[in-house]
């Protein structure tokens, strides 16, 4: 599966609290209904905590969710 990069998706100043690490972009698997996507997302290099930033959640991601719901 190819990795999708969504332009403008960055950590936006967030860092991992417990690990004290800056987030790095890495491929993350997202699933919804019966679909899977490999998306480049900010994550903690140490513990792997993934960030879904607000613009992504309410923008592109929401659109894809709606599409998958066959609307």
């Amino acid at each position: 599966m190819s990795v999708i990069t969504v332009p403008g998706t960055g950590a936006g100043g967030w860092r991992c609290g417990p690990c004290d690490e800056d987030m790095v972009m890495k491929p993350v698997e997202l699933t919804y209904l019966n679909s899977q996507f490999n998306v480049e997302l900010p994550a903690c290099p140490k513990c792997g905590y993934v960030l879904i930033p607000e613009p992504l959640a309410l923008g592109k991601m929401h659109q894809v969710e709606q599409l998958l719901e066959d609307k």
Partner: protein, 748 residues
């Protein structure tokens, strides 16, 4: 949906039936389309509509006797459209359209004997179907004075279509017989030949066939040019069928004039007299006359429904979309949102001349989607969670009146009233006890969200719990205030006697608390009261007793419109739900009074002043129209607190329901945070769960500049993100968002 059901529904909607003009015209010229284009000054396009349908249009448009006129619906409002004069104007003024292209030659040939109007029209129509045609006549002769060159131009067009005209031929019986030998079929224009040639008897009315095989003839004596042309077309159809060896009679009902089922409401049409024809129209007068055409159509249901309007078509088209949506196995379903957006209010059904019930179609489709597992998970989830909450331990109760061990009545305020106006519900209950004595109380949901979302199993489950609780009280008469509860429960529990609070109040009289401040208010009937004239009457008599003078919006009573909440529209498509509420709000200038908690909320949220009848009968601190509209979380808390307070104060019981761990998390929100939560339907309890999870796991993000924290949690099927700050005794929420996609193998 089965295909037969689809056909039945489709057949009910008459929007696609012909307007009266086209149905009465033997050629079915689309006068509506023609007038519509001409009214928009599209002269050439309007002419093209005629030229497409009429044989020899240059001749016929100038001679047509307009049989449509007697049928035109405009006749009832000032006088029928002067279609004949409009045709003549177009024939003179328009550019000739592109020549018609006949079907490819089929290798067969036909003789037409007689060159009067019927014979020429028959030749035209037969040639269009791909036959080689030869006309035998003394001379083509259409029997009316026409401007120079008009007939010649049409004859030239016929020549290009492959019609040969043999002039100077005297039609005889021998000629007919000879042509029958030679050709595939022969048509005789009975009015274009001498009497002696009509030796074949009276042609059949439908087929124009004669007692000679392959010989077709018009019936003599037709004087109307439109009907002459139609006879030519009928002959062409018969010859086509004859040469193909198919049935000569099947499905020919719509060939001549027919009755149309189209219904067009004239109640808002102002009468307008025809523009005088005088010497004939010029462009200005023709445009003006064409504008008088009513563009006859039905659309009764669409006019009154924001939802039907939104999807830009009408039920006949929608029901096919619903059918197709269900038939899709793979690929994208296109109509899910459409199916889930109907308010199930029944207005369409009420106004439709054929009782087309879009609500029934949509509800059935929802049930099928649930059964097949194709219902989009997000569509009704929030509403169903809210219903589960209203039916949960923290909100549910069923008790006899304090100190009583039986109930004559039980008050059922419904989950929306207790969510939006717990004080009103409490005061109403006090009044009922005071004046009626043994009135028990039942707090829970009637199951409407389950029913509306098509989840029958869930609805039955919730109903059986409700019944058990009611039977536990001795099956008393139910006093319900919410019209939706009343409607749902009356249908689902025929064994119960369900009276509206409004009829109880009408009988008892107003309570002492009632605000008799008078004034003028517009009444908003909830859609659930559409079929309940008694309830609507009770409400009006109560308003009268309150000294209120009432105004009715255009859609009122049994024609009332839904506020946008019904059928869960507001959950599925909030923007459309709000548009429906707005339409309601804008319908009157006066402030509204209604008797459904959700109508009040939906309308008040548009910014319009709206009050619930409880605000007048059982007023609280605020002025009736000023009561705020609580947000999603507050609505839940209102129910919980109402139950707790009543248990404590009326039954001296402490609430036995223990708070869950997450409920102890203390949360406050900034204004922006609260707004984000409300818009995104994120509840305080969702946020509390995220914060509890962050506290326990230690996982969170921290912002380099603001120092704020960010944490996420997925309690069920939605992942929530909360941006917060720690305060001395809890958390301050700055923002929150959510999504449904799951991070695979990621955080909980």
């Amino acid at each position: 949906m089965e295909q037969t059901e689809l056909r039945q529904w489709e057949n009910r909607c008459i929007q696609e039936e012909s307007p009266r003009c086209a149905a009465a015209c033997p050629l079915h010229v689309d006068a509506r389309e023609c007038c519509s284009l001409l009214a928009a000054r599209r002269v050439d396009k309007a002419w093209a509509v005629l030229a497409r349908t009429m044989p020899l249009p240059g001749v016929l448009a100038r001679t047509c006797d307009a049989p449509c006129k007697a049928a035109c619906l405009r006749g009832e409002k000032g006088g029928p459209v002067e279609m004949g004069a409009l045709e003549r104007f177009l024939a003179d003024a328009a550019q000739p359209p592109k020549p018609l292209r006949p079907l490819p030659r089929n290798g067969k040939s036909v003789a037409v004997i007689g060159g009067a109007m019927t014979g020429l029209c028959a030749a035209w129509e037969i040639a269009r179907k791909g036959f080689a045609v030869t006309v035998y006549c003394e001379a083509p002769e259409v029997g009316s004075a026409l401007p120079d060159g008009v007939l010649d131009a049409e004859l030239a067009a016929m020549d290009r279509m492959g019609v040969a005209i043999e002039r100077g031929v005297t039609p005889t019986q021998d000629l007919v017989e000879a042509q029958l030998e030679e050709r595939d079929a022969v048509f005789v224009d009975s009015d274009g030949v001498p009497e002696a040639v009509r030796y074949f008897g009276e042609p059949d009315e439908v087929t124009l066939g004669t007692n000679r095989l392959g010989l077709f003839a018009s019936r003599a004596g037709e004087v109307s040019p439109a009907f002459q042309a139609a006879a030519g077309r009928r002959a062409a159809n018969s010859i086509m069928r004859f040469s193909q060896g198919v049935s000569m009679v099947k499905s020919r009902e719509l060939e001549g004039p027919y009755d149309t089922r189209l219904y067009t409401n004239l109640s808002k049409v102002e009468p307008a007299a025809p523009v005088a024809v005088g010497e004939g129209y010029d462009e200005a007068s023709a445009v003006q006359e064409a504008a008088r055409c009513l563009k006859c159509e039905c659309m009764e249901c669409v006019k009154g429904c924001v939802y039907l309007k939104h999807y830009k078509q009408y039920p006949k088209v929608y029901v096919r979309q619903v059918y197709n949506n269900e038939a899709i196995v793979r690929g994208t379903r296109q109509a899910n949102k459409m199916i889930n957006s109907c308010m199930l209010c029944g207005l369409c059904d009420t106004v439709c001349p054929e009782d087309f019930a879009m609500g029934d179609v949509c509800l059935e489709a929802r049930r099928n989607m649930i059964a097949k597992g194709t219902m989009p998970p997000s569509a009704h989830e929030f509403a169903l969670r809210d219903m589960a909450f209203a039916d949960g331990d923290k909100c549910v109760m069923a008790r006899h009146a304090p100190g009583a061990d039986s109930s004559e009545y039980v008050f059922f305020p419904g989950c929306q009233l207790t969510a939006t106006d717990p004080g009103g519900a409490e005061r109403a209950y006090a009044d009922l006890r005071e004046r009626l004595g043994k009135v028990g109380l039942m707090l829970r949901c009637c199951g409407a969200p389950a029913a509306w979302s098509g989840r029958d199993a869930l609805f039955r489950e919730s109903l059986s719990e409700l019944k058990t609780a009611w039977q536990g009280l001795g099956s008393p008469r139910i006093i319900a205030a919410c019209p939706s509860c009343i409607k749902i429960l009356r249908e689902a529990m025929p064994e119960a006697e369900i009276v509206s609070h409004w009829s109880i109040l009408s009988a008892l009289g107003l309570p002492r608390t009632a605000l008799k401040t008078g004034g003028t208010l517009a009444v908003n009937d909830p859609c659930a009261a559409r079929e309940d004239g008694a309830m609507r009457g009770d409400v009006r008599s109560l308003l009268d007793a309150l000294g209120v003078s009432t105004v009715e919006p255009e859609y009122s009573g049994e024609l009332t419109q839904c506020c946008g909440y019904g059928g869960l529209l507001n959950e599925v498509d909030p923007a459309l739900g709000q548009a429906a509420a707005k339409a309601r709000a804008d319908a009157v200038d006066e402030d509204y009074v209604t008797y459904c908690a959700m109508c009040r909320e939906m309308i008040a949220r548009t910014g319009k002043t709206a009050m619930h009848l409880y605000d007048l009968v059982y007023p609280g601190e605020q002025r009736p129209g000023d009561r705020p509209t609580p947000g999603h979380s507050e609505r839940r808390e209102n129910r919980v607190r109402l139950r707790e307070r009543l248990l404590r104060e009326l039954w001296s019981e402490v609430d036995g329901v223990a708070a869950e761990e997450f409920e102890k998390v203390r949360v406050t929100c900034t204004e922006a945070g609260a707004a984000a939560m409300e818009e995104r339907r994120i509840l305080t309890s969702d946020v509390q769960k995220v914060l509890l999870q962050a506290e326990r796991s230690g996982s969170h993000l921290v912002h380099g500049e603001t120092g704020r924290f960010l944490a996420s949690f997925r309690p069920a099927v939605v992942t929530y993100w909360v941006e917060f700050e720690k305060t001395d005794d809890g958390y301050l929420v700055h923002n929150a968002w959510c999504h449904r996609m799951k991070i695979k193998g990621g955080q909980p």
